[in-house]
């Protein structure tokens, strides 16, 4: 910053006071602010682990977080009330943080996953992965990419997603790669909160008004066919089933009578979403942000 800006700050410093502790300010964690999410971390892949396999797994976990975070960020300024706008932004920020760590981990484990950019491009690996891959190279599940619906749809999708991902992350805290296990340990706390947020709203909407119950069930029925792919990919069918049954019972809701969606790969929604997400970055492959 210039000296002028500093002077201006100083001129008002007394007015603003300095008792930050008093206010319990929330600021963006450093990991979100920094240029390199894995700065200072030893990213050597432990002997006995296949770097390409580790990278592919981190890409899948990272892409899920990135795409889900993107869909959640679309709620910004659209939530039912200010308090929920803030809560949803917190969840989106947590997942974005996970995506940055996991994409960086993938790139460090196996640099060949990172798309080639023109010579001299300053774009970091995490951004090359997020903004310069085609839809077919994204490894996320379909549940996170379908366009967002109403708040009932959001709550149903978030409940399914956070429940499966939390179960997977709890297991990953014991992963042989210390970087991935550390990322999982951090994520467990975040995901437990996301699941709690979704479960509370799930029960509230189910037991609230006739309309809220109708909308929640419609949302649940819409995302339910995508649940099978989710729990199979995360390999958490058993753990997830127990938790979901508990929430469904508390809400007085039956499992929807719709079968799993067949096929794999992506829906039509992903490439459209990425076209928007990647448009500025791709227009400036030599740009620095």
């Amino acid at each position: 910053m210039t000296a002028t800006v500093t002077d201006h700050d100083n001129a008002y410093a007394d007015l603003l006071g300095s008792d930050d502790a008093h206010w319990a300010f929330g600021h963006l964690p450093e990991i979100q602010q920094g240029e390199d999410p894995l700065a200072g971390v030893d990213t050597t892949v432990p002997a006995g682990l296949d770097p390409a396999g580790l990278a592919a797994y981190c890409l899948f976990l990272g892409d899920d977080a990135l795409v889900m975070s993107h869909r959640l960020s679309e709620w910004c300024s659209n939530a039912p009330d200010l308090e929920d706008d803030i809560a949803l932004a917190n969840i989106a920020l947590d997942l974005l943080g996970q995506a940055r760590l996991l994409l960086s981990r993938a790139a460090a484990a196996d640099p060949s996953v990172v798309p080639a950019l023109p010579e001299g491009s300053p774009v970091p690996a995490e951004d090359a992965l997020a903004f310069f891959r085609e839809a077919r190279d994204f490894r996320n599940v379909r549940l996170v990419e379908v366009p967002h619906g109403d708040f009932g749809h959001l709550v149903a999708r978030l409940l399914l997603f956070a429940t499966a991902r939390l179960a997977a992350f709890e297991r990953l805290t014991a992963h042989a790669d210390p970087v991935l296990s550390a990322i999982a340990a951090k994520g467990v706390k975040e995901l437990a909160y996301h699941r709690d947020y979704a479960a509370r709203w799930f029960v509230t909407l189910a037991q609230g008004t006739d309309e809220s119950r109708r909308r929640l069930l419609a949302g649940l029925t819409e995302v339910w066919p995508l649940q099978a792919e989710l729990v199979a990919t995360y390999d958490v069918a058993a753990e997830t089933g127990v938790v979901l049954d508990e929430v469904l019972a508390a809400a007085g809701v039956d499992r929807p009578a719709v079968g799993p969606m067949s096929g794999h790969g992506h829906t039509e929604a992903l490439s459209r979403m990425l076209a928007e997400m990647q448009v500025v970055a791709r227009a400036h492959p030599l740009g620095t942000w």
């Binding site: 502790a21 008093h22 206010w23 319990a24 929330g26 600021h27 803030i86 706390k189 909160y193 509230t204």
Partner: protein, 93 residues
């Protein structure tokens, strides 16, 4: 259309300090108020103790001895004590 009731939020930033009034928010019930407070006033900072209380459940007296308003406070919405900081030397607050 119904509006959620107003809650006052008190936060203890770390052990050894009093809870301090930090602001208010709307929530449908106590559980939601606690969750909202965590999101809004601590941005989910862990290790922070939070109290929430419905604004209409707070009994308050005026800080000014010459307070002319002897009428019961409860019927005057605009006199609820949002943003009223509790001094640090009040015990157990």
């Amino acid at each position: 259309m119904s509006e959620w009731p107003l809650y006052e939020v008190f936060v203890r930033g770390k052990r050894g300090l009093n809870h301090v009034h930090v602001g208010s928010l709307h929530a449908a019930d106590d559980a939601m108020a606690l969750h909202n407070a965590r999101d809004v006033y601590t941005r989910r900072n862990e290790g922070v103790s939070i109290w929430v209380v419905r604004a209409d459940a707070i009994a308050a007296s005026s800080p000014d001895e010459k307070d002319p308003l002897f009428a019961p406070a409860g019927d005057k919405v605009y006199r609820h004590p949002t943003f009223y900081s509790i001094p640090d030397d009040v015990p157990h607050m």
